[in-house]
């Protein structure tokens, strides 16, 4: 018998507590006297049938308000498996509890109310679960009784959810129809839904892999205590975070980077030759090296990043918002260091998954940030290793846990908080000197519009003519970046934002080099484009809206993308299945439905001349 930890998520009235009460009841985990006390409490609330939610809603306020306030941990078992479930509330304001429950789960069950369909909240829950790296998802379409056990309604919800979840990082998503109140498909297959041929919820839970999140490759051992009963014995106590270790293995201690050999391993059940992740052990090593709590033993050939600058996702959990530049305590494995958030990249709108500009993170908000720590931490990306990719932030003045953090990557970022504010210590040859030398100003010309509108074509022609007239130019376009610098990104809103952020940073470098940078990107979001504009401060930024109607673009379809989107092969295709936000006040609008590419390019050149951005000779021509 093994142990599966899972969590549940759903909106306020999706029937989560009821489902959990059902699972406990059907697996015989509720004793007679507990059942009696629930029966009497049900009657007190004026309900005629047994309210299973009362089994899980333990706190007085929860019963009074008939909602779940805090994460509850429940155990039950079947003949095949022990389960611990974290029941988390579904209110909008309780993101914090969901993150807490999901942080220790192997699997999550998302409830969707069949009568309401997939709501914004379901999307939010799925996003948070994906962010927390939950590998397996069971989507339970509940309250099938309210829709007459209709297969069509079930498939509608299922399709809506699948369209959304496809781009999230779940390894495995299972769907089933449910009626938790009556127990349909909870333990036994429902006779009222013969069209469903899959397994019941309990059977799905029994069959799901355990510890699917554990990294078995990279040995990481954070030292909790040094065990020193006498002068003969010195052992290091801790839990193996990932990977495994054998006696005789050469290991490296961090931060000292000294190597030593493992001479013995003791687990809870005695001495052993090998131990692996999850085991609480005591290791002894050859030779006296100085190791203490907070240090980490690893293998030299699979080292974590030893870093002081981190690119992270933060989920803010305190009523006092994040303060940029304030020292927090970062708790990572057994290590505590000071940490400062130097920059907030964006805040994720968890309902639309869009990345918004934000100055801070408020209670229950999620964002991407850059951190600098006072001493090195030994980290992996959360995706590769949750044990060494996760951390908490503690406010030193209140001692409260204020944020959950997931590491995206260690960075080369500025190592002092003071330097973090500076734009960069670039070249000594200033842009101004370059501009004088080349006799024209640097600028960014940003072409935005639908795929097929003619952005790249126009930009290429403009570049040709500028270059011919002796200008320093550079052309950046979407395909070029997507194949190289951004080949790790997908087409979800947050990925698109990141794609444009990178494009903007590259454009800025060429801008500083003195070039007229021609950028051709769909760049569907207004805020993303505005952010690039701000990157160069007062420098000339020319936003060109390459406007062509959808029909024209579809007819042109130079890369065959519209055909693929129509065939359902492309999710999140701008203009078809993803939004495009046209510029409100662009410097220039070119209607390529009516103008030839040459005319379009000439229009851009005219604007650049008029704005004084070209060489004097061409200006006069």
């Amino acid at each position: 018998m093994d142990l599966l930890r899972f969590t549940t998520a759903g909106s306020v009235d999706d029937g989560k507590s009821t489902l959990i009460g059902r699972l406990l009841y059907e697996t015989g985990s509720i004793f007679d006297d507990q059942l009696q006390s629930v029966a009497s409490a049900s009657r007190q609330l004026g309900e005629d049938r047994l309210n299973f939610a009362l089994l899980t809603d333990g706190l007085r306020a929860e019963r009074e308000q008939k909602i779940t306030i805090d994460v509850a941990y429940r155990s039950f078992s079947t003949s095949r498996r022990r389960f611990i479930l974290a029941d988390t509330p579904g209110h909008a304001q309780y993101t914090r509890n969901m993150v807490t429950g999901a942080s220790t789960a192997d699997l999550a069950v998302i409830l969707v109310d069949a009568s309401k369909g997939v709501l914004t909240q379901s999307r939010r829950h799925a996003f948070i679960l994906a962010l927390l790296g939950i590998p397996q998802l069971i989507v339970a379409i509940n309250k099938m009784d309210l829709v007459g056990f209709s297969e069509a309604v079930y498939h509608e919800s299922r399709t809506a959810f699948a369209a959304f979840a496809r781009d999230l990082t779940f390894a495995n998503v299972a769907y089933l129809p449910l009626c938790a109140v009556d127990g349909d498909n909870v333990v036994e297959r429902s006779r009222r839904m013969p069209w469903y041929r899959g397994e019941s919820l309990l059977h799905l839970l029994e069959g799901a892999p355990v510890d699917a999140r554990t990294n078995a490759m990279d040995f990481r051992f954070a030292v909790q205590l040094v065990i020193r009963p006498n002068h003969e014995f010195r052992g290091y106590a801790g839990t193996i975070a990932s990977g495994s270790v054998k006696t005789g293995d050469e290991v490296m201690a961090l931060p000292s980077k000294l190597t030593t050999q493992v001479t013995s391993i003791s687990t809870a059940s005695g001495a052993t030759g090998m131990a692996s992740s999850g085991e609480a052990v005591v290791l002894t090593t050859s030779g006296d090296i100085d190791i203490s709590r907070g240090d980490m033993l690893v293998r030299a050939d699979t080292m974590p990043d030893v870093a002081r600058a981190l690119d992270v996702h933060l989920c803010w959990m305190d009523s006092v918002p994040l303060i940029i530049g304030k020292p927090y305590i970062l708790g990572h494995t057994t290590r505590r260091v000071q940490a400062v958030v130097t920059r907030l990249e964006h805040r994720v709108d968890v309902d639309t998954l869009r990345a918004d500009d934000a100055a801070t993170l408020d209670f229950n908000e999620i964002g991407r940030a850059h951190l600098v720590t006072s001493a090195p931490v030994f980290v992996d990306s959360y995706r590769l290793n949750a044990a060494t990719g996760s951390f908490i932030l503690i406010d030193p003045s209140t001692s409260l846990t204020v944020a959950a953090g997931m590491i995206r990557a260690a960075t080369q970022g500025p190592l002092s908080p003071a330097a973090a504010g500076a734009v960069g210590h670039g070249s000594h040859v200033s842009r101004e000197r370059r501009e004088r030398h080349q006799q024209h100003r640097a600028a960014i010309v940003w072409f935005t519009g639908l795929s097929g509108a003619g952005k790249s074509t126009t930009a290429r022609l403009v570049e040709e003519r500028l270059f011919a007239d002796g200008h320093h130019t550079m052309l950046l376009d979407g395909d070029q970046l997507r194949q190289g610098l951004c080949d790790d990104l997908a087409f979800l809103p947050a990925d698109r934002t990141e794609n444009i952020r990178r494009a903007g940073e590259v454009a800025r470098l060429f801008f500083e080099h003195g070039a007229i940078v021609l950028c051709a990107f769909v760049s569907p979001y207004r805020t993303d484009r505005e952010r690039v504009r701000k990157l160069i401060g007062d420098g000339p930024f020319v936003e060109v809206f390459v406007d062509a109607d959808l029909e024209t673009c579809r007819a042109r379809d130079p890369k065959g993308l519209y055909r693929r989107a129509a065939a359902g092969q492309l999710e999140q295709f701008t203009g078809v299945s993803a939004p495009y936000e046209a510029p409100a006040n662009p410097e220039l609008i070119i209607d390529t439905t009516r103008r030839s590419p040459d005319e379009a390019a000439e229009q851009v050149l005219e604007y650049l001349r008029a704005a004084g951005l070209t060489r004097p000779s061409t200006r006069d021509a």
């Binding site: 333990g58 509850a72 941990y73 429940r74 509890n97 942080s103 909790q224 205590l225 801790g238 503690i394």
Partner: protein, 324 residues
């Protein structure tokens, strides 16, 4: 250097007050190992994060298992936490004898603080009447002891399966300067990263067995051959029935008219204060037999606790006040 921890022979432990034990018939499962590893991790984290932690030791099975795990957490060194027992003065003599023998054999520092002393010093007032209990008074003695000994983490064997309010409690559970639990403002507990930071005067209750159930405890006791107080196993005792529970006839309990004393084969599922601990009819004389019996039982463990029955919300209220 490199000396193995397994320097103890399998049956290194013997205790005259311990109940007769038999070779184990229950095997260690993957889920018990996971719970064991988790508990050891938590106990070590307590030692790493706090200066003066102590184990709240009642001599009951949960605190015995907890101490057993603490021994493993620090082996081959001695247990790095003192045992603190809050003695109501109404304990069964078997419990006290077991407590002393167990602490001695595991080489633990045992600290005892008595409810009677709190009453004598005027810190607490004895309840009166036939159903009087010193259960609530323990809280006063406990908080006084925490203050006196400057304990910053009180490690206890409470489990989430015991009661609804406990299912919502954190593993590292914060207590304010008055020893109170605030269920609506608990710190989020993420991954296995525990935050034990506190202000002076505050303390933590830590529950390494949070994820265990009563059955897990018994299976573990059986697998590991852990000694327990003889009250846990079937024995002949004079009992009377009250509110559906079997209460032991002791000097601490006043009989009411109509209470009929009978001699029966019983065992206790918890070994608290004699005034509020009910027995169940049982013939199980070993841990494996108890495991088998539990598989068939239909009454929750705390169902045999009179103190929880006082109201639906009894446990939450007592916990808010700083109860165990």
């Amino acid at each position: 250097m490199g000396r193995s921890l397994k320097s103890h022979p399998r049956n290194w432990y013997s205790c005259p007050s311990a109940a007769r034990r038999q070779p184990t018939a229950v095997t260690m499962t993957a889920h018990l190992r996971r719970l064991e590893n988790e508990a050891i991790h938590i106990i070590r984290e307590v030692k790493g994060q706090f200066e003066r932690p102590a184990i709240l030791f009642s001599a009951g099975k949960d605190s015995v298992v907890l101490t057993w795990l603490a021994r493993k957490a620090f082996a081959p060194a001695r247990i790095g936490l003192a045992l603190l027992h809050i003695d109501t003065g109404h304990n069964f003599p078997e419990t006290i004898a077991f407590r002393d023998g167990f602490a001695r054999d595991l080489q633990c520092d045992l600290i005892v603080r008595r409810v009677q002393d709190s009453i004598d010093r005027g810190r607490a007032r004895e309840e009166r009447g036939p159903r009087a209990s010193r259960n609530a008074l323990q809280t006063v003695t406990l908080l006084d002891a925490i203050h006196e000994l400057r304990i910053d983490a009180a490690v206890a064997g409470a489990r989430r399966d015991e009661e609804k309010a406990r299912a919502k409690e954190r593993i590292f559970s914060h207590r304010d300067a008055f020893g109170q639990w605030d269920p609506k403002h608990q710190r989020p507990e993420l991954w296995n990263l525990f935050n034990g930071r506190q202000a002076p005067g505050e303390h933590f209750r830590v529950f390494p067995l949070s994820n265990w159930t009563e059955l897990d405890i018994w299976e573990y006791v059986a697998c590991e051959n852990i000694p327990l107080c003889s009250l846990y196993f079937s024995h002949q005792r004079e009992v009377f029935e009250r509110d559906g529970l079997l209460m032991a006839k002791t000097e601490f309990v006043q009989l009411e008219p109509g209470d009929r004393i009978a001699r029966r084969a019983v065992r206790f599922r918890t070994v608290g204060d004699a005034t509020c601990t009910g027995a169940v009819a049982s013939v199980a004389t070993t841990a494996p037999e108890v495991v088998a019996e539990l598989g068939a039982t239909r009454v929750a463990e705390r169902g045999a606790r009179v103190d929880d029955r006082r109201s639906e919300m009894a446990m939450e209220d007592r916990k808010r006040d700083g109860y165990f």
